[in-house]
């Protein structure tokens, strides 16, 4: 609690918030002047977002979020349901474009390039920033065709042998090769849930993205499949930059370098993962990770 007390001096509304934490009702805290505490920015940023607001029609879902994702970093985003972490993640490769009423403002850059520039073509952006979804969503095609889908539509290969190689390496890196190498032409929907999710990861890395966004990739999986995916994330971080949204705090603690805590559409705290889970700077973060709400 002393660490929190130090930080309250810096932030205007902290006294109110602390009171609320003590009253066990932090949801009612006045967040209008909240500023992000910790280290949201990075010197070696792959993606950098400033003052991001997201609206669904008249409703504002994200309020002025500023955050960097460092090169080859695993950034975890945690927070109670409806706090906007998935919405924020989906802004990073413009998946929110598919929702008509969704409007994004602010500056979002991938290596210095504005990704919401109206002149920018969204197709190569999504090839560079891949996404893995909450529910495994293999296409109703064979395992091979699922992985080959991306390379094919982007014209990455000209010969069958090259495609075979990409499929094999992608499946190997997703840790699925040994399980499916004998039935590459069986339907992808016939795999188990965990295998399907690894197939989706293989499908994503087959187009060699630079950033992989993962939206609660393990929420539909059992603990063993989850452990495999977490292992995979650790390996993938050698080559990719990863942003992962998760409801499991243990998972965030296990896989990430930095953790961002979202609350009611605002970014409350970003810090080294270890610090967030042992000694958070903000009382709201502490309340969340100690299970007082959320």
């Amino acid at each position: 609690m002393e660490a929190i007390a130090e930080n309250t001096a810096k932030v205007d509304n902290m006294i109110d918030t602390k009171k609320d934490v003590q009253n066990n009702s932090p949801e009612s805290a006045d967040l209008s002047n909240l500023e992000t505490v910790g280290i949201p920015f990075s010197d070696n940023a792959k993606m950098s977002m400033r003052d991001v607001d997201v609206f669904y029609g008249d409703k504002q879902a994200i309020h002025g979020v500023g955050l960097d994702i460092g090169q080859n970093e695993v950034l975890a985003m945690i927070g109670p349901s409806g706090c906007g972490k998935s919405t924020f993640l989906r802004c990073l490769n413009r998946m929110n474009d598919t929702i008509d009423i969704c409007k994004v403002t602010g500056s979002l850059q991938l290596e210095g390039q504005d990704i919401y520039d109206p002149k920018l073509d969204v197709v190569p952006l999504r090839a560079r920033v891949g996404m893995v979804f909450q529910k495994p969503n293999p296409f109703p095609k064979s395992i091979y065709d699922n992985v080959a889908y991306g390379p094919r539509i982007h014209g990455l290969v000209s010969r069958r042998a090259e495609l075979d190689e990409i499929v094999e390496t992608s499946l190997q890196r997703a840790g699925l090769w040994n399980e499916v190498k004998d039935r590459l032409h069986a339907p992808g929907t016939g795999l188990s849930g965990g295998q399907q999710q690894r197939l989706c990861i293989a499908r994503t890395i087959a187009v060699s993205p630079e950033v992989i966004l993962m939206d609660e990739p393990c929420s539909a999986l059992d603990p063993i499949a989850t452990a495999k995916i977490e292992e995979l994330i650790a390996e993938l971080s050698e080559n990719f930059t990863i942003a992962i949204v998760t409801h499991s705090m243990q998972q965030a603690a296990r896989v990430s370098n930095r953790t961002a805590y979202f609350h009611l559409g605002k970014l409350v705290e970003v810090n080294e993962t270890e610090k967030v889970f042992t000694n958070p700077d903000h009382s709201l973060t502490e309340a969340y990770i100690t299970g007082r709400f959320g």
């Binding site: 197709v123 090839a127 891949g130 979804f133 969503n137 889908y149 539509i153």
Partner: protein
Amino acid sequence: MFLGLLVCFEIRQTLTEGFAKRTQRLPKSSDDNQENFWRIMDTSTLIATLALLIAAAYVMGRGRSMELADTSQGGFRNLNSLPFYYGMLTALWCGIPSLFLVGVWMTMDTSVIDMLLIKQLPEEVAAMPKSELGLVLNTIKNLAEGNMLGSAPEPYMAQAADSLKRLTQTSQMAMTVLAICLGMLLAVFSWFRISPEQKARLQVEGAFKAILLACSCLAILTTVGIVFSVIFESMRFFQSVPVSEFVFGLHWSPQMAIRADQVGGSGAFGAIPLFVGTLLISVIALIVAVPTGLMAAIYLSEYATAKVRSIVKPMLEVLAGIPTVVYGFFAALTVAPLIKDSGTSAIDFLNIQFEFLNIQMSISSESALAAGLVMGVMIIPFVSSLSDDVINAVPQSLRDGSLGLGSTQSETIKQVVIPAALPGIVGGVLLAASRAIGETMIVVMAAGLAANLTANPMESVTTVTVQIVTLLVGDQEFDSPKTLSAFALGLMLFIVTLALNYLALHVVRKYREQYD
């Protein structure tokens, strides 16, 4: 409750008065008032009366149960069921048996009266063969109704007509009295049985279950009946024409000599030209409908905004609501002449420009193309509406997955959405196809009646359904092979559409399993 009693009393009053009048005046058989009364008391009035009785029974049953509940001082809790159910039970007792009686009586009385009438006829008339006897009975009936006859009736006929009048009247009277008495009797019986312990709710629900079952049985029995009648008639046809000739024969010309001395074709019953014609027109229709419908569905489900969709989709479905006869004269009066004119001028143009071609082709004013095109427009909504539904059923997560890999919207549609929706789309197309095969009106008007065995869409062809119509509107006897062949065609068509429907349902069901 009092109202119910009052209504019931009123009805009883009127009825008894009516009966009283009737009985008083019975000896005067030609009394105008009496005849008027029985004319008014026809079946529809009887049913209206029964409806009133049923309503009264409901009100009284409900009232009695409420009374019983009050006297036992515990309110409705003492009743086994809510008052509504006691009312319903009384109403059902009153209504079902009496309505059933009316139904049975009405189906039976004609034949019973005929039988009684024949007994009264002179012996030599009664001994006549069945068809001639039927003719005599018809004359008598016409006489009884006061219709004009071609020739003066024989005396025994006038006599029979009188007795027919009397019999009909007696039957109507007996039915009315019996039905109303039965209804009232059972209503009163059920009314007395009402007690707080009676399980009215269970009984009413059981009765409704039985009514529902009866309704579904009715539909099934009708289907079975139709199928069997078609099968039996077809078997009679196949006695005179071998199955192999019918199924594989290449020539269709059902004209047969009616009399032995008549000069006429011996009749050829090869169904192949008809099925080829049907196939040709259906294929043209599908060539029009499938791409158009599918693309419309893709636009509606993937690209159109909610507002556009809410306007366009119902408008497309209006196409399905246009009567086929309207499509028919559109095809015959607008499309067919257009095809003939433009086709003829195109051939002229080619022959003038390239003399060596020397195309010798005439374009019929009744062409398979015209019928197929218009039929294609007609079945567009089948394809588009069903495809739109299955495309919408493809999970958004699949689209997200594809878009998230950096594919464009059109790539996503072509590579992911359509393949995932394909089984459902195929189901929709098959349903549209069976609709096209069964379509008659457009073809009658636009494609003609000539059974040509051809694959040229510019020629006149005919289809199975059209032939069935022409065979049955003729003036041949009903047991000649010409008329019977209609049943055989119907049977074949039934088998084909049944197979297509089964296939479509099977495909659609398989598709459902994939996502649920």
